[in-house]
Protein backbone atom coordinates (compact mmCIF):
# COMPACT_ATOMS: atom_id res chain seq x y z
CA UNK A 1 0.00 0.00 0.00
CA UNK A 2 1.50 3.23 -1.10
CA UNK A 3 -0.53 5.60 0.94
CA UNK A 4 -0.16 5.16 4.70
CA UNK A 5 -3.35 3.90 6.28
CA UNK A 6 -3.58 6.85 8.65
CA UNK A 7 -3.65 9.18 5.69
CA UNK A 8 -6.54 7.29 4.21
CA UNK A 9 -8.41 7.56 7.45
CA UNK A 10 -7.57 11.24 7.76
CA UNK A 11 -8.82 11.83 4.25
CA UNK A 12 -11.99 9.93 4.92
CA UNK A 13 -12.49 11.86 8.12
CA UNK A 14 -12.02 15.13 6.33
CA UNK A 15 -14.59 14.06 3.79
CA UNK A 16 -16.94 13.07 6.55
CA UNK A 17 -16.58 16.38 8.31
CA UNK A 18 -17.21 18.16 5.04
CA UNK A 19 -20.35 16.16 4.53
CA UNK A 20 -21.49 16.82 8.06
CA UNK A 21 -20.80 20.51 7.67
CA UNK A 22 -22.84 20.47 4.51
CA UNK A 23 -25.83 18.98 6.31
CA UNK A 24 -25.42 21.47 9.09
CA UNK A 25 -25.11 24.67 7.16
CA UNK A 26 -27.35 24.10 4.17
CA UNK A 27 -31.08 24.53 4.47
CA UNK A 28 -32.14 23.07 1.15
CA UNK A 29 -33.23 19.49 1.51
CA UNK A 30 -31.37 18.44 -1.57
CA UNK A 31 -28.15 19.90 -0.26
CA UNK A 32 -28.59 18.22 3.09
CA UNK A 33 -29.06 14.91 1.33
CA UNK A 34 -25.95 15.54 -0.70
CA UNK A 35 -24.09 16.13 2.53
CA UNK A 36 -25.32 12.79 3.77
CA UNK A 37 -24.11 11.19 0.57
CA UNK A 38 -20.69 12.67 1.15
CA UNK A 39 -20.65 11.29 4.66
CA UNK A 40 -21.55 7.86 3.38
CA UNK A 41 -18.89 8.07 0.73
CA UNK A 42 -16.37 8.97 3.38
CA UNK A 43 -17.37 5.79 5.13
CA UNK A 44 -16.96 3.85 1.93
CA UNK A 45 -13.52 5.30 1.43
CA UNK A 46 -12.46 4.36 4.92
CA UNK A 47 -13.83 0.88 4.43
CA UNK A 48 -11.99 0.34 1.23
CA UNK A 49 -8.79 1.61 2.81
CA UNK A 50 -9.25 -0.65 5.80
CA UNK A 51 -10.04 -3.55 3.52
CA UNK A 52 -6.75 -2.99 1.81
CA UNK A 53 -4.97 -2.54 5.11
CA UNK A 54 -6.26 -5.79 6.57
CA UNK A 55 -5.95 -7.60 3.27
CA UNK A 56 -9.60 -8.67 3.46
CA UNK A 57 -12.59 -8.45 1.18
CA UNK A 58 -15.04 -7.97 4.03
CA UNK A 59 -14.66 -4.24 3.84
CA UNK A 60 -15.35 -4.16 0.16
CA UNK A 61 -18.39 -6.35 0.59
CA UNK A 62 -19.69 -3.89 3.07
CA UNK A 63 -19.04 -1.05 0.66
CA UNK A 64 -21.22 -2.78 -1.88
CA UNK A 65 -23.95 -3.19 0.70
CA UNK A 66 -23.54 0.43 1.64
CA UNK A 67 -23.96 1.54 -1.91
CA UNK A 68 -27.13 -0.46 -2.23
CA UNK A 69 -28.54 0.97 0.93
CA UNK A 70 -27.51 4.48 -0.06
CA UNK A 71 -29.25 4.06 -3.33
CA UNK A 72 -32.47 2.94 -1.75
CA UNK A 73 -32.27 5.68 0.79
CA UNK A 74 -31.80 8.25 -1.90
CA UNK A 75 -34.74 6.82 -3.74
CA UNK A 76 -36.95 7.20 -0.72
CA UNK A 77 -35.50 10.60 0.07
CA UNK A 78 -35.99 12.02 -3.37
CA UNK A 79 -39.52 10.71 -3.46
CA UNK A 80 -40.06 12.43 -0.18
CA UNK A 81 -38.57 15.68 -1.43
CA UNK A 82 -40.81 15.55 -4.44
CA UNK A 83 -43.80 14.84 -2.26
CA UNK A 84 -42.99 17.69 0.10
CA UNK A 85 -42.39 20.13 -2.71
CA UNK A 86 -45.75 19.10 -4.08
CA UNK A 87 -47.50 19.61 -0.77
CA UNK A 88 -45.90 22.72 0.52
CA UNK A 89 -44.16 24.26 -2.42
CA UNK A 90 -40.81 24.49 -0.73
CA UNK A 91 -37.90 22.25 0.05
CA UNK A 92 -36.29 24.45 2.68
CA UNK A 93 -36.04 22.10 5.63
CA UNK A 94 -36.74 24.68 8.33
CA UNK A 95 -40.06 25.57 6.79
CA UNK A 96 -41.42 22.34 8.09
CA UNK A 97 -41.80 23.35 11.69
CA UNK A 98 -45.42 23.03 12.58
CA UNK A 99 -44.60 20.66 15.37
CA UNK A 100 -42.31 21.81 18.13
CA UNK A 101 -41.93 22.15 21.88
Amino acid sequence: MIVPFEHVLAMASALFVLGLTCTLVRRQLIMILIGVEIMLNAAALALVGASAFWQQVDGQVFVVLLMAITASEVAVALAMVFYLRHRKGTIVADQFNRMHG
Binding site: F5, E6, L9, A12, F16, G19, L20, T23, L29, I32, L33, V36, M39, L40, A42, A43, A44, A46, L47, G49, A50, F53, W54, Q56, D58, G59, V61, F62, L65, L66, I69, S72, E73, V76, A77, M80, Y83, L84, R87, K88, A93, F96, N97, R98, M99, H100, G101
Partner: protein, 471 residues
Amino acid sequence: MNGLELIALTPVLILVLGGTALLMAGAWYRQPDPLLAGGISVALAAGLSALLLTPPVQEIAGLFSSTPYARFFTLFWSLSAALMLVISVRYVKERSLPAGEYVSLVLFATAGMALLSSATSLIGIFLGLEAFTLAFYILIACNRHCDLSAEAGLKYLVMGAVATGFMAFGIALIYACSGSFHLPEALQGLAAAGALRPWGLLGWGMLLVAIGFKISLVPFHLWTPDVYQGAPTPVVSLLATGSKGAVAAALIGLFASGPSGWTDMTSLLWLLSALTMLVGALCALPQTNIKRLLAYSSVVHMGTLLIGLLCQTSDGLAASVFYVTVYCIASLGSFAIITSMADGTSEPTDLEQWRGLGYRHPVRCGVLTVLLLSLAGMPPTAGFMAKFAIFHASIQADFIGLALVGILASLISFAFYLKVIMVMFMTDETAPACHPGTTLEHSVLAICTGAVLLFGLFPGLLFDLIGSILP
Protein backbone atom coordinates in the same frame (compact mmCIF):
# COMPACT_ATOMS: atom_id res chain seq x y z
CA MET B 1 -24.94 -19.69 3.30
CA ASN B 2 -26.27 -23.18 3.33
CA GLY B 3 -29.69 -24.76 3.77
CA LEU B 4 -29.38 -25.12 7.52
CA GLU B 5 -28.76 -21.45 7.86
CA LEU B 6 -31.80 -20.73 5.73
CA ILE B 7 -33.86 -22.88 8.07
CA ALA B 8 -32.51 -20.93 10.97
CA LEU B 9 -33.54 -17.79 9.16
CA THR B 10 -37.09 -19.03 8.54
CA PRO B 11 -38.96 -16.44 10.63
CA VAL B 12 -37.28 -13.56 8.88
CA LEU B 13 -37.79 -15.19 5.53
CA ILE B 14 -41.46 -15.63 6.28
CA LEU B 15 -41.71 -11.97 7.11
CA VAL B 16 -39.84 -10.79 4.06
CA LEU B 17 -41.45 -13.14 1.57
CA GLY B 18 -44.86 -12.59 3.07
CA GLY B 19 -44.29 -8.87 2.90
CA THR B 20 -43.27 -9.05 -0.71
CA ALA B 21 -46.22 -11.23 -1.60
CA LEU B 22 -48.63 -8.84 0.08
CA LEU B 23 -46.99 -5.89 -1.62
CA MET B 24 -47.62 -7.50 -4.93
CA ALA B 25 -51.11 -8.57 -4.04
CA GLY B 26 -51.80 -5.03 -2.97
CA ALA B 27 -51.00 -3.77 -6.41
CA TRP B 28 -54.01 -5.59 -7.84
CA TYR B 29 -56.21 -6.07 -4.94
CA ARG B 30 -56.94 -2.98 -2.93
CA GLN B 31 -59.33 -4.26 -0.24
CA PRO B 32 -57.57 -3.50 3.03
CA ASP B 33 -59.15 -6.19 5.19
CA PRO B 34 -57.71 -9.30 3.52
CA LEU B 35 -54.34 -7.64 3.14
CA LEU B 36 -54.18 -6.76 6.80
CA ALA B 37 -55.41 -10.19 7.75
CA GLY B 38 -52.68 -11.62 5.57
CA GLY B 39 -50.13 -9.40 7.27
CA ILE B 40 -51.31 -10.47 10.68
CA SER B 41 -51.11 -14.10 9.75
CA VAL B 42 -47.66 -13.68 8.27
CA ALA B 43 -46.46 -12.00 11.45
CA LEU B 44 -48.04 -14.68 13.58
CA ALA B 45 -46.57 -17.38 11.38
CA ALA B 46 -43.15 -15.83 11.74
CA GLY B 47 -43.63 -15.68 15.46
CA LEU B 48 -44.78 -19.28 15.58
CA SER B 49 -41.85 -20.47 13.54
CA ALA B 50 -39.49 -18.59 15.83
CA LEU B 51 -41.15 -20.23 18.78
CA LEU B 52 -41.42 -23.77 17.49
CA LEU B 53 -38.62 -24.20 15.00
CA THR B 54 -35.40 -25.15 16.69
CA PRO B 55 -32.68 -23.75 14.47
CA PRO B 56 -30.04 -26.24 13.42
CA VAL B 57 -27.21 -23.73 13.61
CA GLN B 58 -26.34 -21.04 16.10
CA GLU B 59 -25.00 -18.50 13.67
CA ILE B 60 -26.09 -17.43 10.24
CA ALA B 61 -23.43 -16.30 7.81
CA GLY B 62 -21.42 -14.75 10.58
CA LEU B 63 -23.95 -11.93 10.62
CA PHE B 64 -26.86 -13.08 12.71
CA SER B 65 -27.32 -15.49 15.53
CA SER B 66 -30.19 -17.84 16.07
CA THR B 67 -29.72 -18.34 19.75
CA PRO B 68 -32.75 -18.50 22.04
CA TYR B 69 -32.10 -14.83 22.75
CA ALA B 70 -32.50 -13.94 19.11
CA ARG B 71 -35.52 -16.18 18.78
CA PHE B 72 -37.14 -14.58 21.79
CA PHE B 73 -36.89 -11.16 20.25
CA THR B 74 -37.92 -12.39 16.83
CA LEU B 75 -41.00 -13.83 18.43
CA PHE B 76 -41.58 -10.70 20.43
CA TRP B 77 -41.30 -8.30 17.47
CA SER B 78 -43.46 -10.54 15.34
CA LEU B 79 -46.13 -10.52 17.97
CA SER B 80 -45.81 -6.77 18.38
CA ALA B 81 -46.17 -6.35 14.66
CA ALA B 82 -49.21 -8.59 14.67
CA LEU B 83 -50.79 -6.56 17.42
CA MET B 84 -49.85 -3.36 15.65
CA LEU B 85 -51.50 -4.62 12.49
CA VAL B 86 -54.57 -5.59 14.43
CA ILE B 87 -55.01 -2.08 15.71
CA SER B 88 -54.24 -0.74 12.25
CA VAL B 89 -57.17 -2.49 10.63
CA ARG B 90 -59.76 0.18 11.19
CA TYR B 91 -57.21 2.98 11.07
CA VAL B 92 -55.95 2.04 7.65
CA LYS B 93 -59.47 1.64 6.34
CA GLU B 94 -60.85 4.86 7.70
CA ARG B 95 -57.89 6.94 6.59
CA SER B 96 -57.63 5.05 3.32
CA LEU B 97 -53.94 4.39 3.64
CA PRO B 98 -52.48 2.13 0.94
CA ALA B 99 -53.02 -1.20 2.65
CA GLY B 100 -50.68 -3.39 0.64
CA GLU B 101 -47.73 -1.07 1.04
CA TYR B 102 -48.56 -0.46 4.65
CA VAL B 103 -48.68 -4.12 5.56
CA SER B 104 -45.60 -5.08 3.62
CA LEU B 105 -43.59 -2.21 5.04
CA VAL B 106 -44.58 -3.22 8.54
CA LEU B 107 -43.48 -6.74 7.82
CA PHE B 108 -40.19 -5.56 6.35
CA ALA B 109 -39.60 -3.39 9.36
CA THR B 110 -40.32 -6.33 11.58
CA ALA B 111 -37.86 -8.41 9.68
CA GLY B 112 -35.32 -5.65 10.18
CA MET B 113 -35.99 -5.60 13.90
CA ALA B 114 -35.67 -9.33 14.14
CA LEU B 115 -32.37 -9.17 12.29
CA LEU B 116 -31.08 -6.31 14.39
CA SER B 117 -31.93 -8.09 17.63
CA SER B 118 -30.00 -11.12 16.49
CA ALA B 119 -27.04 -9.37 14.90
CA THR B 120 -23.64 -10.67 15.81
CA SER B 121 -21.71 -8.52 13.42
CA LEU B 122 -21.49 -4.84 12.70
CA ILE B 123 -22.74 -5.51 9.21
CA GLY B 124 -25.69 -7.32 10.68
CA ILE B 125 -26.43 -4.38 12.90
CA PHE B 126 -26.18 -2.00 9.98
CA LEU B 127 -28.37 -4.09 7.76
CA GLY B 128 -31.04 -4.68 10.33
CA LEU B 129 -31.10 -1.05 11.35
CA GLU B 130 -31.32 0.21 7.79
CA ALA B 131 -33.94 -2.32 6.91
CA PHE B 132 -36.47 -1.07 9.38
CA THR B 133 -35.38 2.56 9.20
CA LEU B 134 -36.10 2.63 5.48
CA ALA B 135 -39.47 1.07 6.08
CA PHE B 136 -40.26 3.62 8.74
CA TYR B 137 -39.30 6.55 6.49
CA ILE B 138 -42.28 5.62 4.38
CA LEU B 139 -44.61 4.42 7.10
CA ILE B 140 -44.30 7.65 9.03
CA ALA B 141 -45.17 9.75 6.04
CA CYS B 142 -47.74 7.37 4.62
CA ASN B 143 -50.78 9.36 5.66
CA ARG B 144 -51.10 11.59 2.64
CA HIS B 145 -53.98 13.58 4.05
CA CYS B 146 -51.99 14.95 6.87
CA ASP B 147 -49.36 17.68 6.77
CA LEU B 148 -47.94 16.65 10.07
CA SER B 149 -47.35 13.16 8.83
CA ALA B 150 -45.25 14.49 5.97
CA GLU B 151 -43.34 16.78 8.29
CA ALA B 152 -42.67 13.91 10.66
CA GLY B 153 -41.52 11.76 7.77
CA LEU B 154 -39.13 14.46 6.63
CA LYS B 155 -37.66 14.92 10.07
CA TYR B 156 -37.19 11.24 10.59
CA LEU B 157 -35.71 10.86 7.15
CA VAL B 158 -33.12 13.57 7.39
CA MET B 159 -32.11 12.73 10.91
CA GLY B 160 -32.08 9.05 10.07
CA ALA B 161 -29.93 9.64 7.03
CA VAL B 162 -27.40 11.61 9.00
CA ALA B 163 -27.41 8.93 11.64
CA THR B 164 -26.81 6.35 8.96
CA GLY B 165 -23.81 8.36 7.90
CA PHE B 166 -22.48 8.35 11.40
CA MET B 167 -23.10 4.67 11.75
CA ALA B 168 -21.44 3.76 8.50
CA PHE B 169 -18.39 5.83 9.26
CA GLY B 170 -18.24 4.52 12.80
CA ILE B 171 -18.37 0.96 11.58
CA ALA B 172 -15.68 1.75 9.04
CA LEU B 173 -13.40 3.10 11.72
CA ILE B 174 -14.03 0.13 14.01
CA TYR B 175 -13.26 -2.17 11.12
CA ALA B 176 -10.19 -0.17 10.33
CA CYS B 177 -8.98 -0.57 13.86
CA SER B 178 -9.86 -4.20 14.46
CA GLY B 179 -9.97 -5.78 11.07
CA SER B 180 -13.26 -7.55 11.65
CA PHE B 181 -16.94 -6.88 11.53
CA HIS B 182 -17.76 -9.80 13.73
CA LEU B 183 -18.53 -8.47 17.17
CA PRO B 184 -16.32 -10.57 19.46
CA GLU B 185 -13.31 -10.09 17.22
CA ALA B 186 -14.06 -6.46 16.65
CA LEU B 187 -14.17 -5.96 20.38
CA GLN B 188 -10.98 -7.87 20.99
CA GLY B 189 -9.29 -6.10 18.14
CA LEU B 190 -9.98 -2.82 19.80
CA ALA B 191 -8.40 -3.98 23.02
CA ALA B 192 -5.35 -5.19 21.15
CA ALA B 193 -5.02 -2.28 18.75
CA GLY B 194 -2.05 -0.04 19.29
CA ALA B 195 -1.73 3.04 17.14
CA LEU B 196 -5.14 2.58 15.59
CA ARG B 197 -6.91 2.52 18.94
CA PRO B 198 -7.92 6.20 18.84
CA TRP B 199 -9.68 5.57 15.52
CA GLY B 200 -11.41 2.60 17.01
CA LEU B 201 -12.63 4.59 19.96
CA LEU B 202 -13.81 7.33 17.64
CA GLY B 203 -15.66 4.69 15.69
CA TRP B 204 -17.45 3.49 18.78
CA GLY B 205 -18.29 7.08 19.58
CA MET B 206 -19.89 7.54 16.16
CA LEU B 207 -21.78 4.32 16.55
CA LEU B 208 -23.05 5.69 19.83
CA VAL B 209 -24.29 8.81 18.05
CA ALA B 210 -26.26 6.70 15.60
CA ILE B 211 -27.67 4.46 18.28
CA GLY B 212 -28.38 7.48 20.44
CA PHE B 213 -30.50 8.75 17.59
CA LYS B 214 -32.41 5.51 17.26
CA ILE B 215 -33.23 5.13 20.91
CA SER B 216 -33.37 8.91 21.35
CA LEU B 217 -30.80 9.65 23.97
CA VAL B 218 -30.35 13.29 24.86
CA PRO B 219 -29.16 15.28 22.88
CA PHE B 220 -30.12 13.10 19.89
CA HIS B 221 -33.73 12.89 20.95
CA LEU B 222 -35.16 16.03 19.45
CA TRP B 223 -36.91 14.32 16.56
CA THR B 224 -38.83 11.98 18.86
CA PRO B 225 -41.77 14.15 19.93
CA ASP B 226 -42.29 15.61 16.48
CA VAL B 227 -42.26 12.26 14.77
CA TYR B 228 -44.49 10.65 17.36
CA GLN B 229 -46.93 13.48 17.02
CA GLY B 230 -47.03 13.49 13.27
CA ALA B 231 -46.87 9.83 12.41
CA PRO B 232 -49.97 7.66 12.22
CA THR B 233 -50.58 6.34 15.69
CA PRO B 234 -50.30 2.61 14.90
CA VAL B 235 -46.98 3.32 13.26
CA VAL B 236 -45.87 5.15 16.37
CA SER B 237 -46.84 2.14 18.42
CA LEU B 238 -44.32 0.10 16.46
CA LEU B 239 -41.79 2.90 16.25
CA ALA B 240 -41.85 3.37 20.00
CA THR B 241 -41.60 -0.30 20.76
CA GLY B 242 -39.98 -2.24 17.95
CA SER B 243 -37.46 0.23 16.62
CA LYS B 244 -36.27 1.24 20.05
CA GLY B 245 -36.56 -2.20 21.52
CA ALA B 246 -34.65 -3.87 18.70
CA VAL B 247 -31.78 -1.43 19.05
CA ALA B 248 -31.85 -1.97 22.79
CA ALA B 249 -31.84 -5.71 22.25
CA ALA B 250 -28.84 -5.39 19.95
CA LEU B 251 -27.11 -3.23 22.52
CA ILE B 252 -27.77 -5.80 25.20
CA GLY B 253 -26.28 -8.45 22.94
CA LEU B 254 -23.31 -6.20 22.34
CA PHE B 255 -22.73 -5.59 26.01
CA ALA B 256 -23.17 -9.26 26.72
CA SER B 257 -20.44 -10.25 24.28
CA GLY B 258 -17.70 -8.42 26.13
CA PRO B 259 -16.16 -5.06 26.89
CA SER B 260 -16.51 -2.72 23.96
CA GLY B 261 -15.07 0.66 23.26
CA TRP B 262 -17.86 2.01 25.36
CA THR B 263 -16.40 0.44 28.47
CA ASP B 264 -13.83 3.19 28.37
CA MET B 265 -16.60 5.68 28.10
CA THR B 266 -18.55 4.52 31.12
CA SER B 267 -18.62 7.99 32.58
CA LEU B 268 -19.86 9.37 29.26
CA LEU B 269 -22.66 6.83 29.17
CA TRP B 270 -23.38 7.70 32.79
CA LEU B 271 -23.74 11.29 31.80
CA LEU B 272 -25.89 10.48 28.78
CA SER B 273 -28.14 8.28 30.83
CA ALA B 274 -28.58 10.87 33.54
CA LEU B 275 -29.15 13.64 31.02
CA THR B 276 -31.61 11.57 29.08
CA MET B 277 -33.67 10.69 32.13
CA LEU B 278 -33.76 14.18 33.54
CA VAL B 279 -34.25 16.12 30.33
CA GLY B 280 -36.86 13.67 29.12
CA ALA B 281 -38.80 13.83 32.35
CA LEU B 282 -38.61 17.60 32.61
CA CYS B 283 -39.61 18.14 29.00
CA ALA B 284 -42.57 15.81 29.40
CA LEU B 285 -43.92 17.82 32.31
CA PRO B 286 -45.39 20.73 30.36
CA GLN B 287 -46.62 18.66 27.41
CA THR B 288 -50.25 18.91 26.50
CA ASN B 289 -50.23 16.46 23.62
CA ILE B 290 -50.44 12.91 24.78
CA LYS B 291 -48.35 11.57 21.91
CA ARG B 292 -45.57 14.04 22.58
CA LEU B 293 -45.85 13.24 26.25
CA LEU B 294 -45.41 9.56 25.53
CA ALA B 295 -42.51 10.42 23.25
CA TYR B 296 -40.68 12.13 26.05
CA SER B 297 -41.67 9.30 28.33
CA SER B 298 -39.92 6.93 25.93
CA VAL B 299 -36.87 9.16 26.16
CA VAL B 300 -36.86 8.74 29.93
CA HIS B 301 -37.28 5.01 29.57
CA MET B 302 -34.32 4.67 27.27
CA GLY B 303 -32.23 6.60 29.75
CA THR B 304 -33.28 4.23 32.47
CA LEU B 305 -32.55 1.27 30.26
CA LEU B 306 -29.06 2.58 29.75
CA ILE B 307 -28.49 2.21 33.49
CA GLY B 308 -29.06 -1.51 33.24
CA LEU B 309 -26.70 -1.76 30.31
CA LEU B 310 -24.03 0.28 32.02
CA CYS B 311 -23.85 -2.19 34.86
CA GLN B 312 -22.62 -4.87 32.47
CA THR B 313 -23.50 -7.50 35.02
CA SER B 314 -25.72 -10.44 34.23
CA ASP B 315 -28.30 -8.98 36.58
CA GLY B 316 -28.09 -5.69 34.77
CA LEU B 317 -28.55 -7.26 31.36
CA ALA B 318 -31.40 -9.43 32.55
CA ALA B 319 -32.98 -6.36 34.08
CA SER B 320 -32.55 -4.54 30.79
CA VAL B 321 -34.24 -7.29 28.81
CA PHE B 322 -37.08 -7.34 31.30
CA TYR B 323 -37.30 -3.59 31.12
CA VAL B 324 -37.42 -3.48 27.34
CA THR B 325 -40.06 -6.16 27.19
CA VAL B 326 -42.28 -4.53 29.74
CA TYR B 327 -41.78 -1.07 28.30
CA CYS B 328 -42.75 -2.27 24.87
CA ILE B 329 -45.91 -3.97 26.08
CA ALA B 330 -47.08 -0.94 28.03
CA SER B 331 -46.11 1.48 25.31
CA LEU B 332 -47.80 -0.52 22.58
CA GLY B 333 -50.91 -0.70 24.70
CA SER B 334 -50.94 3.05 25.31
CA PHE B 335 -50.73 3.88 21.63
CA ALA B 336 -53.26 1.19 20.90
CA ILE B 337 -55.72 3.00 23.12
CA ILE B 338 -55.18 6.26 21.27
CA THR B 339 -55.63 4.39 18.02
CA SER B 340 -58.80 2.78 19.21
CA MET B 341 -60.20 6.21 19.99
CA ALA B 342 -59.32 7.62 16.61
CA ASP B 343 -61.90 7.88 13.90
CA GLY B 344 -61.56 8.71 10.23
CA THR B 345 -60.56 12.31 10.70
CA SER B 346 -59.29 12.88 14.18
CA GLU B 347 -57.91 11.27 17.24
CA PRO B 348 -57.74 12.54 20.79
CA THR B 349 -54.15 13.70 21.16
CA ASP B 350 -54.50 17.01 22.91
CA LEU B 351 -55.09 16.57 26.61
CA GLU B 352 -58.08 18.90 26.28
CA GLN B 353 -59.70 16.14 24.28
CA TRP B 354 -59.15 13.74 27.15
CA ARG B 355 -60.99 15.78 29.72
CA GLY B 356 -63.33 13.55 31.64
CA LEU B 357 -62.92 10.81 29.08
CA GLY B 358 -62.60 8.41 31.99
CA TYR B 359 -66.34 8.64 32.40
CA ARG B 360 -67.22 8.28 28.76
CA HIS B 361 -64.90 5.38 28.13
CA PRO B 362 -64.26 3.95 31.55
CA VAL B 363 -62.74 0.65 30.48
CA ARG B 364 -60.24 2.01 28.04
CA CYS B 365 -59.28 4.88 30.30
CA GLY B 366 -58.93 2.45 33.16
CA VAL B 367 -56.67 0.34 31.00
CA LEU B 368 -54.69 3.39 30.01
CA THR B 369 -54.32 4.19 33.69
CA VAL B 370 -52.90 0.77 34.35
CA LEU B 371 -50.54 1.03 31.41
CA LEU B 372 -49.39 4.50 32.36
CA LEU B 373 -48.81 3.34 35.89
CA SER B 374 -46.76 0.51 34.51
CA LEU B 375 -44.74 2.99 32.49
CA ALA B 376 -44.34 5.01 35.66
CA GLY B 377 -43.27 1.96 37.63
CA MET B 378 -46.06 1.50 40.09
CA PRO B 379 -46.67 -1.84 41.74
CA PRO B 380 -48.33 -4.24 41.12
CA THR B 381 -47.70 -3.67 37.42
CA ALA B 382 -44.75 -5.09 35.57
CA GLY B 383 -43.27 -1.62 35.28
CA PHE B 384 -42.47 -1.67 38.95
CA MET B 385 -40.60 -4.95 38.75
CA ALA B 386 -38.70 -3.61 35.76
CA LYS B 387 -37.68 -0.52 37.63
CA PHE B 388 -36.89 -2.57 40.68
CA ALA B 389 -34.64 -4.84 38.65
CA ILE B 390 -32.83 -1.90 37.06
CA PHE B 391 -32.25 -0.11 40.34
CA HIS B 392 -31.20 -3.34 41.94
CA ALA B 393 -28.62 -3.90 39.23
CA SER B 394 -27.34 -0.36 39.39
CA ILE B 395 -26.89 -0.39 43.14
CA GLN B 396 -25.26 -3.76 42.88
CA ALA B 397 -22.81 -2.40 40.34
CA ASP B 398 -22.15 0.65 42.50
CA PHE B 399 -23.93 3.10 40.24
CA ILE B 400 -25.75 4.53 43.21
CA GLY B 401 -25.56 8.07 41.92
CA LEU B 402 -27.22 7.04 38.71
CA ALA B 403 -29.84 5.14 40.64
CA LEU B 404 -30.62 8.30 42.58
CA VAL B 405 -30.91 10.30 39.37
CA GLY B 406 -33.19 7.57 38.11
CA ILE B 407 -35.29 7.86 41.23
CA LEU B 408 -35.55 11.59 40.76
CA ALA B 409 -36.54 11.21 37.13
CA SER B 410 -39.02 8.57 38.14
CA LEU B 411 -40.56 10.97 40.60
CA ILE B 412 -40.87 13.67 37.96
CA SER B 413 -42.25 11.13 35.53
CA PHE B 414 -45.03 10.28 37.92
CA ALA B 415 -46.10 13.88 37.78
CA PHE B 416 -46.80 13.79 34.07
CA TYR B 417 -48.29 10.31 33.98
CA LEU B 418 -50.59 11.34 36.78
CA LYS B 419 -51.44 14.45 34.82
CA VAL B 420 -52.97 12.30 32.14
CA ILE B 421 -54.86 10.24 34.69
CA MET B 422 -56.07 13.40 36.34
CA VAL B 423 -57.27 14.82 33.07
CA MET B 424 -59.17 11.64 32.35
CA PHE B 425 -60.80 11.20 35.71
CA MET B 426 -60.62 14.37 37.70
CA THR B 427 -62.08 16.96 35.40
CA ASP B 428 -65.60 17.77 34.42
CA GLU B 429 -66.92 15.84 31.53
CA THR B 430 -66.39 18.23 28.69
CA ALA B 431 -64.67 16.33 25.93
CA PRO B 432 -66.85 14.75 23.26
CA ALA B 433 -67.00 10.99 23.11
CA CYS B 434 -64.53 9.16 20.91
CA HIS B 435 -64.82 6.13 18.72
CA PRO B 436 -65.93 3.17 20.80
CA GLY B 437 -63.25 0.94 19.31
CA THR B 438 -63.64 -2.47 17.77
CA THR B 439 -63.49 -5.84 19.43
CA LEU B 440 -60.13 -6.46 17.81
CA GLU B 441 -58.70 -3.31 19.26
CA HIS B 442 -60.13 -4.15 22.64
CA SER B 443 -58.56 -7.56 22.54
CA VAL B 444 -55.17 -5.97 21.91
CA LEU B 445 -55.73 -3.81 24.97
CA ALA B 446 -56.73 -6.85 26.96
CA ILE B 447 -53.56 -8.65 25.92
CA CYS B 448 -51.32 -5.73 26.84
CA THR B 449 -53.02 -5.09 30.18
CA GLY B 450 -53.09 -8.74 30.99
CA ALA B 451 -49.40 -9.06 30.26
CA VAL B 452 -48.54 -6.00 32.28
CA LEU B 453 -50.44 -7.28 35.27
CA LEU B 454 -49.29 -10.86 34.86
CA PHE B 455 -45.65 -9.89 34.72
CA GLY B 456 -46.25 -7.52 37.59
CA LEU B 457 -47.73 -10.12 39.86
CA PHE B 458 -45.62 -13.02 38.66
CA PRO B 459 -42.45 -11.51 37.28
CA GLY B 460 -40.74 -14.80 37.94
CA LEU B 461 -42.19 -16.16 34.70
CA LEU B 462 -40.40 -13.62 32.58
CA PHE B 463 -37.28 -13.51 34.70
CA ASP B 464 -36.81 -17.24 34.42
CA LEU B 465 -37.23 -17.09 30.69
CA ILE B 466 -34.76 -14.25 30.40
CA GLY B 467 -32.30 -16.00 32.64
CA SER B 468 -32.34 -19.00 30.32
CA ILE B 469 -31.96 -17.10 27.05
CA LEU B 470 -29.47 -14.43 27.93
CA PRO B 471 -26.26 -14.91 25.90
